[in-house]
Amino acid sequence: MDAAMTTDTQQPTARPSRTMPMAAPAVTSTSAAAAPTRIRLEHINAFYGQKQALFDVNLDIPDNTVTAFIGASGCGKSTLLRCLNRMNDTIPGAHVDGAIRMDGTDINSPEIDPVQVRTRIGMVFQKPNPFPMSIYDNIAYGPRTHKLYGSKADLDELVERSLRRAALWDEVKDRLNKSGLGLSGGQQQRLVIARTLAVSPAVILMDEPCSALDPIATAHIEALIDQLREHTCIVIVTHSMAQAARVSQRTAFFHMGKLIESGSTDQIFTMPKLDQTQDYITGRFG
């Protein structure tokens, strides 16, 4: 448990860079004073039928922070992400042991309703997936399902607020009743984020949200993520280490279902404790 425990984020922003084969990209976001833990993962073991995908993962995910899961394909980072909002429940034969504690409750317990977990923990997928409905109906879907509003005016306001938070309002305010599928890829992903925000989740999970987008759209989304962490806890799975370095404050590195190392993004990218981490970061594999 020790090697994988989170290191403290008490260092000042700039570190003197050592002689490393690859200079880590500068992390511009400031590391705040230690943020409280939002989710604590304890002894997570995940199985797809007989095949084990995660081995004894222990991790703290702090609030108001962007935590990045990185690692080679198939290392289990997406599986772990999906554990957090009980999405693995929908896969027949999938099975997760261990405790996932949020606000004192173990949300992985079979006694807890996964539907309610998902109203507190939202998810954005790799390929933008707006529903084949109008933009307004897309955003309103969550609030309507969970009856989160009083009157139509309330709903209108909620839709507008969500779209503003997702930095999409100005672009779509004149065509709220047009289909969500008519937007560009980057806009669709922001629509999905707005849809997720409409139910006011405490945590947003993002599974490679930019891999289907062009660089400009990606930059928009990353800026948005940085704004969102002010009010939300964000966990992002990413293939791109540059993205992890740009956008996150904490990073966890996985390999073959095990958590190898986690710590502040700064530290992981400039001075990883384990050779394995360093090998991945410098592109020796994956």
Binding site: D103, E111, D113, A202, T232
Partner: protein, 320 residues
């Protein structure tokens, strides 16, 4: 600044909406199965009197005499099988040709209209085919085709005089005419099903063949057909299943003579035509009705077998 604290996530409740949802859907599925089993059971019970009276020999009995109340199913069974298989032999090559044309050699612009035309043909109600057969084909057969067939083949002994060839008086109705109508009926069906099968072959297979310099025909016979052979047979069996049970197209042109046929041109009967023709006179509770229901049971069992085989062949390759 912390994110707003979340209210405690509650315990799992069983939601009545979901339960009703699942239950009602399962019930719908159950109804489907119950319907099939009921059909089999009720048909059998209805025809039980016939099986009790004649035993299993009912199936092989060749005499059908309402007056003496001696019934046998073999004439109807023979008529059904002969017309269906003959129809299949005629329809399958043409249907296959159409399917190949649609998928390979047809110019792009014609593809949709032709496909639509085939599907419209398949949608024409069977009674229309029956009328066409009765008013158009049967007279045509009796005036031109059948005399020609008789004259042409009669002088080739022993074909001319032997069983199942063209030796009956040319009255236009009979197994041959019925087979032709059936062929026309199942033609679009076979064309459409075969086209779907051919369309589902991966382009990669065909590209590989063309890359080696094969002609279209060679690519088809050498690569595509072997790859989808099972599904093609499935399509054929599906067409056979259709032809076996077809009623209205056949009932007008088969002549309704319930005896063992001695010629393709002789009036004959199929199970479906016997049932349809004799139903009005059959009183409930009598042997007359029971034999009809027994015939229906036999038809259902045969169709079931053919359709089950067809489905196995088609789904097997669809899934892989």
């Amino acid at each position: 600044m912390n994110t707003p604290a979340t209210p405690a996530i509650g315990a799992r409740k069983i939601h009545p909406a979901d339960t009703t949802f699942r239950l009602s859907l399962h019930a719908a599925g159950a109804i489907v199965v119950i319907v099939l089993l009921s059909i089999l059971a009720i048909m059998f019970m209805g025809g039980k009197l016939a099986f009790d009276t004649f035993g299993l020999g009912f199936i092989w009995g060749t005499e059908w005499n309402p007056v003496t109340q001696i019934y046998g199913a073999l004439p109807a069974i023979t008529g059904t099988l002969v017309t269906a298989i003959l129809a299949l032999c005629i329809a399958w090559p043409i249907g296959f040709g159409i399917a190949f044309f649609l998928t390979e050699t047809c110019p792009e612009k014609l593809r949709t209209p032709l496909g639509v035309a085939i599907e419209l043909l398949a949608a024409v109600p069977s009674i229309v085919y029956g009328m066409w057969g009765f008013f158009v084909l049967a007279p045509f057969m009796s005036e031109y085709v059948q005399p020609w067939l008789t004259n042409t083949f009669l002088w080739i002994p022993p074909i001319g005089d032997s069983f199942f060839w063209f030796t009956a008086p040319p009255i236009g109705v009979g197994m041959l005419t019925a087979a032709l109508i059936l062929a026309v009926m199942i033609l679009p069906f076979i064309a459409a099903t075969t086209r779907d099968v051919l369309l589902s072959t991966p382009q990669l297979l065909k590209d590989g063949a063309y890359a080696m310099g094969a002609t279209r025909w060679e690519a088809l016979t050498g690569v595509v057909i072997p790859a989808v052979r099972g599904s093609l047979f499935g399509a054929v069996f599906l067409g056979l299943g259709r032809a076996l049970g077809e009623t209205m197209a056949v009932v007008f042109v088969i002549g309704n003579a319930i005896r063992m046929p001695d010629s393709l041109m002789a009036p004959s009967a199929t199970i479906a035509s016997v049932v349809a023709n004799n139903f009005p006179e059959a009183e409930p509770g009598t042997l007359d009705l029971a034999v009809l229901l027994a015939l229906g049971f036999i038809l259902f069992v045969v169709s079931f077998g053919v359709l089950a085989v067809a489905r196995l062949l088609l789904r097997q390759e669809r899934m892989s």
